[in-house]
Symmetry: C2
Subunit: 704 residues, 2 copies
Amino acid sequence: EDWRSMKKVQIFQYVVLKWTLALLIGLATGTVGFFNNLAVENIAGFKFVLTNNLMLEHRYLLAFVAYASCNLVLAAAAAALCAYVAPAAAGSGIPEVKAYLNGIDAHSILAPSTLFVKIFGSILGVSAGFVVGKEGPMVHTGACIANLLGQGGSRKYHLTCRWLRYFKSDRDRRDLITCGAAAGVAGAFRAPVGGVLFALEEAASWWRSALLWRTFFTTAVVAVVLRGFIGYCRSGKCGLFGKGGLIMFDVSSGVTTYNSTDLVAVIFLGVIGGVLGSLYNFFVDRIVRTYSIVNEKGAPFKILLAVTISLLTSCCSYGIPWFGSCTPCPSNIQEQCPAIGQSGNFKNFQCPPGHYNDLASLFLNTNDNAIRNLFSSGTNNEFYISTLFIFFASVYCLGLVTYGIAIPSGLFIPVILAGASYGRIVGTLLGSFTELNAGLFAVLGAASFLGGTMRMTVSVCIILLELTNNLLMLPLVMLVLLISKTVADCFNKGVYDQIVKLKGLPYLEAHAEPYMRHMVAGDVVSGPLITFSGVEKVGNIIHALKMTGHNGFPVVDEPPFTYAPELVGLVLRSHLLVLLKGKKFTRERESTRLSEVLQRFGAFDFAKAGSGKGVKLEDLDILEEEMELYVDLHPIANKSPYTVVETMSLAKAAVLFRELGLRHLLVVPKTPGRPPIVGILTRHDFMAEHVLGLFPHLMPHKKA
Amino acid sequence: EDWRSMKKVQIFQYVVLKWTLALLIGLATGTVGFFNNLAVENIAGFKFVLTNNLMLEHRYLLAFVAYASCNLVLAAAAAALCAYVAPAAAGSGIPEVKAYLNGIDAHSILAPSTLFVKIFGSILGVSAGFVVGKEGPMVHTGACIANLLGQGGSRKYHLTCRWLRYFKSDRDRRDLITCGAAAGVAGAFRAPVGGVLFALEEAASWWRSALLWRTFFTTAVVAVVLRGFIGYCRSGKCGLFGKGGLIMFDVSSGVTTYNSTDLVAVIFLGVIGGVLGSLYNFFVDRIVRTYSIVNEKGAPFKILLAVTISLLTSCCSYGIPWFGSCTPCPSNIQEQCPAIGQSGNFKNFQCPPGHYNDLASLFLNTNDNAIRNLFSSGTNNEFYISTLFIFFASVYCLGLVTYGIAIPSGLFIPVILAGASYGRIVGTLLGSFTELNAGLFAVLGAASFLGGTMRMTVSVCIILLELTNNLLMLPLVMLVLLISKTVADCFNKGVYDQIVKLKGLPYLEAHAEPYMRHMVAGDVVSGPLITFSGVEKVGNIIHALKMTGHNGFPVVDEPPFTYAPELVGLVLRSHLLVLLKGKKFTRERESTRLSEVLQRFGAFDFAKAGSGKGVKLEDLDILEEEMELYVDLHPIANKSPYTVVETMSLAKAAVLFRELGLRHLLVVPKTPGRPPIVGILTRHDFMAEHVLGLFPHLMPHKKA
């Protein structure tokens, strides 16, 4: 149903509801985002305080045991949640959201249980000291919240709402989930504009300018909510929750005039970022494939894997700082040195008073604090080159082995950590040759590695600007992103695209593949075509629904009803099920009047049901004698389905399919005198695997 | 030709060229933007210095004469440029760019002469003291620059380039012009992100995420260029060019905590903005219609009108301050008071030393300075309420009567001026009840009026944030925009949409009209359909080209070539002309082999030519005896045109047409045994005027 055909009151309700939902999504995502931060800071803070206190008493082994067992318990809890409650919550979640917005209704990716595990699993996982971020999970969380609100709550838990019947179309759902994804980014990075651009650049497959505004409203609500909570926490009522504002890593104090050496360094950073980023993607692909073998063996193995990685991480973060030497605290800084407690830039570790261990400042810290330390300006000589090298290598490897275990794991933070450390290496090496400080180089390094792995550009740029509150860095960040993305694109695809492909989701690309230009639509139509007559026998319909998984069936009127066979339209499986459930059958092949159908069914009976909520084939109880009766399909057929002639270029058909966001595309014959329908194209028929399976000689050479 | 079918080297050339052009557009637009500012500040500055000096000598009448005649000469020059050189350069230019990006190739809107007049006319017009801005013209300028570069310069002036043959498709052109429009906004407001979002929200009709990145690159180049020039001017080498940075009106110093009174005030501002904005649009529409009667009488009348408005403006801006009283300078401010010279917040005017005239601070100033004064914080009591009321009324009326005269005139500045003044009124009235200062209220007022007239939201929000460098205002600005847009949308459409409609440009809306749901594609097909045979007589083609203005003709193969009449495809007028010019005719009805055609024509002969550059019908010299020969149309026919069945819902056909950006949509019959094509739908067939002309009873009730 198009809303433009509704009454004025209904339109008003619809518009109010749309904005109310956007508001609610913003409020909920903002609250979850804050709660997430609060929980992580308190749990991880408690862990570090415990470890530090034991170290101050020189009980180093006990400190390690305490540290490692905290991590172990948290990791095991996160993995158990993931493994037993919602396996779909593992990983970043951004690929799944991207696939959903492309039109793929994968099972359970936005279910309430996934939401629950995503929130708590992410808190536990990040607190457990894994090299993972909360950003990807926040995007997924935002999308889940949007889905839950859009469905009017879960029917399972009896939380439904009548008003939400207006939101039963694919488009409304997608719009809400786009808002949710943007809200997630806004909540994770406190970057409202970055969130909108992320949704626009990476998440959404279709975009309208009306959506821009709604998304922006949602992210602004998130920003307001976060600001309110943080303002409240400034007064110290939130336990170990650290300092923070709308800006996470404030480097605005850095001077940003730059000379030609800096430009060369930036270009160099871009190239490194591209190479390292594509390598990272390559390894992520391999490691996820390997892990999936382990993970498929069952839940206990998933937990075992997570626990193993947790132990490895604990060993690295507690063990490596022992190789560091103690440095006397610099005298000209405002920060506390050595830092005592859970955070701080200059960690004391095993050093005597007045000294700090720079390796511990990076390793024995939450990821957020490590990033803040790397980005910090005015501390040019804080870290030794060797420290940064060791940290870079560890984080690069740990980030790789951590992604793919059964916990909600974001990729942003590992990538930013690794990028910032090599950026800072370059900055420190350049030393006095450059006018930029080492913190700004760390930001540029993070940008280059983000560009190299995720291949997002504008959104990464804006997110970094909002994170660092330094508008004047814009040109350098853009340059580095442009180079790293270009370099990395020579080798492979972005990490999210790779994961989408790895999961076997039929993602429709924005453009048609080159080989499609030499094929026609008729070439790829496959499988036996099942058509129904305008008035069809109930038994035939039941049989077809049972035997195939098709979601759409063409309806053809045949003589004697028409002069020649004629295409009526397309009926959807879900509509057929509703119609059959209504049991308005006739004994003869005769057509039902529309008014009767309208009487029998409410306006929203045929609206798209929430996931797992529609009528199922098993729900029908058609009696044996009803099987021989007839039912008229005309009232429920979509009478103007989009069609292409069989000789239409496949590339053009693909563009049509993708641009209009179709689920079925009917292929009609070119010449008269044949059956009026040749076949149906669905999403799967445009996939490279399907097309190249039918025509192996078209295989692109690089794959041969 | 799709670039994916090109060779690797060609793809590389294409990609390099794309980015080079984006860079060049950025450089050129940035330079023009700076030059524009520089010229305006110097010309207007000279004018004000002259007037001020005469006033200091108490020669008030002479000062007026000098002031008014400066304005008069500048206005007459601007109008003369517009009237005689490029009439298309009059007005804002944003509606034209918007229409072009919607697929309308209106005559000469992006021609080099338009560019020239747009730049210099805008400088003259703004310097002449009109209540107009340089923002709209800058967008148009950016688009013209993009067009000029994309065509490889103008053939007229022998500035062409072979490489640019790759840029002959509609899509490449549109992409470039989108970049140009974004660069224009970025150059006018120094708002790179705002420019991208403006292009996305207001200008472009189709958007791809690849374009996002390219646009952003362009605007960043603009920002860098502007920054470089401004840095150069800081040293005082640019005459009367004032202070400035990347941020134009810096209100970041203002505190932004707010209480509930402020929220009520903001909601109130939103409602006022909506009402005043829709009224503004209504009057703009009426006044432009009235003026067009005058303007159609010829160039001298255009100049006369401009001169009249110039005199009126001079009288207002010099005369009204006389009603103002002199106020002693406040002691606790950092700014110079009274200000001497061309700019400054506290204008001396006729007052004794140590006093200022607040009316003169607003009236006898450039528009940019007046805005800066209104936005200024820490000057809460500078302006009397009466002053602000008088200024608001004058600017509102002057803005209305100025738009529509034959000069390049942007709407942003008048709208910001009027909005800022009523915002400041509200702020001043609230006084101590509010925690926000009057300058921030002026920003909110400007936002509300922008939302009410232009109906842009995200881009206005970001532009204002970038202009004022105050990220923490975001929630309030969003709220006020949301309310004012919603209120104004109840009354009429946005001012740019209105102007597009007023100019009679066939703009395709993003969604189908409600009445289209009850019609089928066959209903609106009109006019006699002209089809060609697969091998057609030259004379018939020439006749059809002469007699009709159609740009596309269906080609139908008929017996004896095929068993039944069969649709081959669609040929374009421009391709027919190239083919006929090639003169590869045959004596018999026989088909030519493709290889022969490829031999005869280069790969780029059929590429879309620049505006006014293609082969014209008059260029052909077909001899009388050649008229009887045949030519094979198969090689040039588009063999898979998009088609719809005649019973397809018109709404769905409209969506297809719009989403895919088509120019022709073939309508095929539903039942066999009829001619294989029913008609062609073009852009004009989807226009409300056409459809409602055919079916007057469908007229929506509100218009009846």
